[in-house]
Each structure stands twice: as structure tokens, then as C-alpha cells.
């Protein structure tokens, strides 16, 4: 994937941090909404972006790669200039100001998270919930070795609370979900984030895409 120069960038476009993890799945969902996803690997890729998605994956790996090439500083800089950021799963950990038992990473949301809070892969699960701010319909939620948001500070709006933990929050500049909307057929969270970034996603896309399957991401990496 060769990102084109900013000057030739057609709108609308959102960035997806492309250091490790579920990058293609987010790019795939953005495409459903008529938004071009730009894989972000270096500080230059961030310039002019209205929004950035931090995908699922391993937060320790992404955090290390963010630091060594200065992408973390560039993200903080663009965030201060108004770029919105959405973290899914590991991305939520990167955004948290406090990570239980570890040092924090970008630290842009006043909240405490616990990594891999449910146990092993055998404890990964799916659920359904209504998130009124995002959609009136029940949304499918996929939790894979998911973190929990344990508590949030003032000014952090809780979008979804489940049993003993918080699953989704937002602030004016951020969105964080401990689950993976990009691993379901639902584009509701991607639409919500795009609108938050000031973009106009395609209006005539079904909220639950019947054309989605768990292999949809593979069309971006066919053997040539």
C-alpha cells in the first residue's frame, strides 16, 4: 500500500494506523461508507487528516513502533490541532491515561483500562447492545482478549456500560471501544466516527451490511 501525496488526496479520507493488527478490516469498513482509508505508517502520513483509527492488535507492539519513529509525537500534535482519534481494543489501551500495572502510551483520555481483562482466548465472546448515541438498533459487538475500561474521569462520556465494566466512551476529540466493530457487518461506529470527524459518509449504506463476512478483509490482499 503506497499512500499518495497529501496534495492528490481525494476527500473524504480517514487514517488507519498501520503498524500492526486489524488494519485491513477498518479500511474495508471505511470503503463501505465511501471513505478512503489511508494506512498511516509515518509522521508525514498524518498531515491534514481529520481523523485517525487506532486498530486492534497488540498494544505493546504498536506502542514500541509508535515511539521509535516519532509517530506518537506526531499523533499528539495533530490531535491538538483538531484531528479526532478512535481506538478499538488495543487502540483503546493506547488512548488511556492509565493502564493498570503498566505505563500509559498516548494518554489522551482520562480513564483507567486493564489489558486482556477477561482471560484467555477461550474467554473471547460476542454480545449485542444498544448504544443510543450511535444507533437506535442493537449492535453486534465482538470482544477478543478485550481490555476493560475500569473508570473514567470528568468530561469523559460513557457510551456503553456492560455488567462490571465500561465498553465505549468518548470525549470531544476521541472515541474508544474495547470491542471490534470492524469484525462485524455493522458500520454504525465507523459512520459515527466519520461524522464526528466532519465527514459525510455515503447515506445509502445498510447499517448491517448483508454483504459482509469474516473473509471480507481478504479482498485487500489477494494473491497477485
Amino acid at each position: 500500500m503506497n499512500p499518495s501525496k497529501p496534495s492528490t488526496r481525494p476527500e473524504p479520507v480517514l487514517g488507519v494506523l498501520d503498524l500492526q493488527g486489524g488494519v485491513l478490516e477498518h479500511l474495508d469498513h471505511l470503503e463501505r461508507l465511501g471513505i478512503r482509508g489511508l494506512p498511516v505508517k509515518s509522521p508525514e502520513d498524518l498531515s491534514g487528516l481529520k481523523g485517525l483509527i487506532l486498530p486492534g492488535g497488540e498494544s505493546t507492539c504498536m506502542s514500541r513502533l509508535l515511539r521509535i519513529f516519532g509517530v506518537d509525537e506526531a499523533i499528539r500534535r495533530e490531535y491538538r490541532k483538531g484531528m479526532k482519534i478512535w481506538g478499538t481494543c488495543a487502540g483503546t489501551i493506547l488512548l488511556a491515561a492509565r493502564v493498570r500495572g503498566e505505563t500509559s502510551h498516548l494518554g489522551l483520555i482520562d480513564m483507567e483500562v486493564e489489558r486482556n481483562s477477561f482471560g484467555s482466548q477461550l474467554d473471547s465472546f460476542t454480545a449485542t447492545a444498544v448504544v443510543p448515541s450511535v444507533s437506535p438498533d442493537p449492535l453486534p459487538l465482538t470482544f477478543i482478549r478485550s481490555p476493560k475500561i475500569l473508570e473514567v474521569g470528568e468530561g469523559v462520556n460513557i457510551l456503553l456500560r456492560m455488567n462490571d465494566f465500561i465498553a465505549a466512551v468518548e470525549t470531544p476529540g476521541t472515541l474508544a471501544t474495547v470491542f471490534h466493530p470492524e469484525l462485524t457487518g455493522s458500520t454504525a461506529f465507523h459512520r459515527y466516527f466519520a461524522v464526528k470527524c466532519g465527514l459525510c459518509p455515503a447515506p445509502d449504506v445498510p447499517a448491517l451490511d448483508p454483504g459482509w463476512s469474516r473473509t471480507s478483509w481478504t479482498r485487500h490482499v489477494r494473491v497477485r
Binding site: 500492526q20 481478504t218 489477494r222 494473491v223
Partner: protein
């Protein structure tokens, strides 16, 4: 395993894409791997290079060691079961690790049957030398595939051969008329339904990592440029002179596999790589990739 559980297991592998899975034999090594940016660790008693050198029967690692390693890191933990040894797999599932590698690096327990992976809730990764082997494992319930390569050699040539073979066979499958698919499947021992899926998708339906003989950042980037979704590094890290630095270099090169300047940066100052073995010098009965079918 119901379809929903299988989907979650395939999706965990998707979250490992672009990452490096490292073999570790102690808690200390597991911590080094995690700190270096590994996306998962493979908990083992002996790395493949030592298994190869010491000979004898290689079995599942001691459960206490696997449990200790699991408790010492927060990234996913994998462990190996012998091919066909479904009770070793039951133990690993009971230990609640995250992924089982049904691996040719261990001495096979069954020379006819691989494990029926559909009976488990825990996900499996399996090795393959070609497309048909990959699809047989997927048909048995594997949620992730890796090349077999030739483990413990520090020689990437077999992993390259296996990846190129899979890609070539996928291209063949894509380009033939439908009426030729049955014959192609018969000749290659390929499950027909799985072959049709590959024709639809233009690739394997699950994540496919490189494994077996990777020792340098350039090896990792090579396998990524050949189309692998991520890499396993077994003996290559903890058999090198400076494991922590080499581990970081391989993580960096895997993430930036298309950027020669960054791969160069990742390759500087790593110390000595593990000693390598010429495949032709290994007696045929000591080759691991031929185990399983």
C-alpha cells in the same frame, strides 16, 4: 467448535497480522519478547535448534513451564502439541493458553491422523508446505496457517519454497476453468469445497504466517513481501548473540517490510545471527517439514 467460536478464533489471528510471534523457553525470555514488541509468544522447553541437536522424542512442553510463561506476559501465549496428539491438545486447552500449534517440530504421535480441531474451543495453527496441505488443515478446523519451513536451521529457503508454492497454486486455481478444479483437487489431495473458497477469495480464507528458518530482519521482510500476513521466529532470536536487540529489529522490519531504508535501520548493530544449516547437509530422516501430510 461452533461457527461463532471459530470466527472469534480466526479473528484473533487477524489481530496478529503484521506481527512477530517468538519462541521462548523461560519467563525471562517471554518478558524480553513482549518488551521487544512480539504479538505473541510460543512457550517451549527447547527451541527447534536444540530439539534438532539433541534428538530423541520431542513432546509437549512441561505444563508448569507453560503456565509460568502464561502468567508472566499479557500478550497471547501459544504452545505446541504433537501432530495427532489430541490429549496434549486437551491439556493445553485446559491450561487456557490462547492458541495451539499442532507442530511438526515435535515428534508426531500419529502418522495417519492430524487432530480433529473442530472438537476444541481453543484455536489451532498448523504448518503447511503447499496449498493442499493448508486446505486439509483448514478443513480439519485450523484457524490459522503457517509455512512449515525447516525449523531450527536459521535457513529461510524452505519457508520461501512453501510460500511460493502456495502462491503459485492459488494463481493456478484462480486461472483454470471450473471443470478443471475437480481434477486439480484430485491430483493434489485438495479438499474441493476449500478450493472453491480460495477461488472466490483469491487467497487462503485465514491468516497465513511465515515460519521455519527465519533469522534476520531481512528474512522477515522477505516473507512479508512474498505475501505472508506475519511471521514466527523460533530459534532465530534466542540462539543469536543479542536476543533483545535482534527481536526489536525483526519486529521493526516486519512492520515496515516494504521500506528498505527502515529494514536497513532494523538490521544494524544486531550482533551475530544464529548459526545456519545447509538443508542439503541434513539427513533426510532429520528433516522436520516432511512430518504430517
Amino acid at each position: 467448535m461452533d461457527e461463532k467460536r471459530y470466527e472469534l478464533n480466526v479473528q484473533l489471528a487477524q489481530m496478529l497480522k503484521g506481527g512477530v510471534i517468538m519462541d521462548v523457553t523461560t519467563v525471562e525470555q517471554a518478558r524480553i519478547a513482549e518488551e521487544a514488541g512480539a504479538v505473541a509468544v510460543m512457550a517451549l522447553e527447547r527451541v527447534p535448534a536444540d530439539i534438532r541437536a539433541q534428538g530423541g522424542v520431542a513432546r509437549m512442553s512441561e505444563p508448569g513451564l507453560i503456565r509460568q510463561i502464561k502468567q508472566s506476559v499479557s500478550i497471547p501465549v501459544m504452545a505446541k502439541a504433537r501432530i495427532g496428539h489430541f490429549v496434549e491438545a486437551q491439556l493445553l486447552e485446559t491450561l487456557k493458553i490462547d492458541y495451539i500449534d499442532e507442530s511438526e517440530v515435535l515428534t508426531p504421535a500419529d502418522e495417519e491422523c492430524h487432530i480433529d480441531k473442530t472438537k476444541f474451543s481453543i484455536p489451532f495453527v498448523c504448518g503447511a508446505r503447499n496449498l493442499a496441505e493448508a486446505l486439509r488443515r483448514i478443513a480439519e478446523g485450523a484457524a490459522m496457517i503457517r509455512t512449515k519451513g525447516e525449523a531450527g536451521t536459521g535457513n529461510v529457503v524452505e519457508a520461501v519454497r512453501h510460500m511460493r508454492t502456495m502462491n503459485r497454486e492459488i494463481r493456478q486455481l484462480l486461472n483454470m476453468p471450473l471443470e478443471e478444479v475437480t481434477g486439480f483437487c484430485k491430483v493434489n489431495g485438495m479438499p474441493y469445497e476449500q478450493a472453491l473458497k480460495v477461488r472466490e477469495l483469491g487467497r487462503l480464507p485465514v491468516v497465513n504466517f511465515a515460519a521455519g528458518g527465519l533469522a534476520t530482519p531481512a528474512d522477515a521482510a522477505l516473507m512479508m513481501q512474498l505475501g505472508c500476513d506475519g511471521v514466527f521466529v523460533g530459534s532465530g532470536i534466542f540462539k543469536s548473540s543479542n536476543p533483545a536487540v535482534r527481536a526489536r529489529g525483526i519486529v521493526k522490519a516486519t512492520a515496515f517490510f516494504n521500506d528498505p531504508e527502515k529494514i536497513l535501520e532494523a538490521s544494524l548493530g544486531l550482533g551475530e545471527a544464529m548459526p545456519g544449516l545447509e538443508i542439503a547437509q541434513i539427513p533426510a530422516d532429520k528433516l522436520l517439514a516432511g512430518r504430517g501430510w
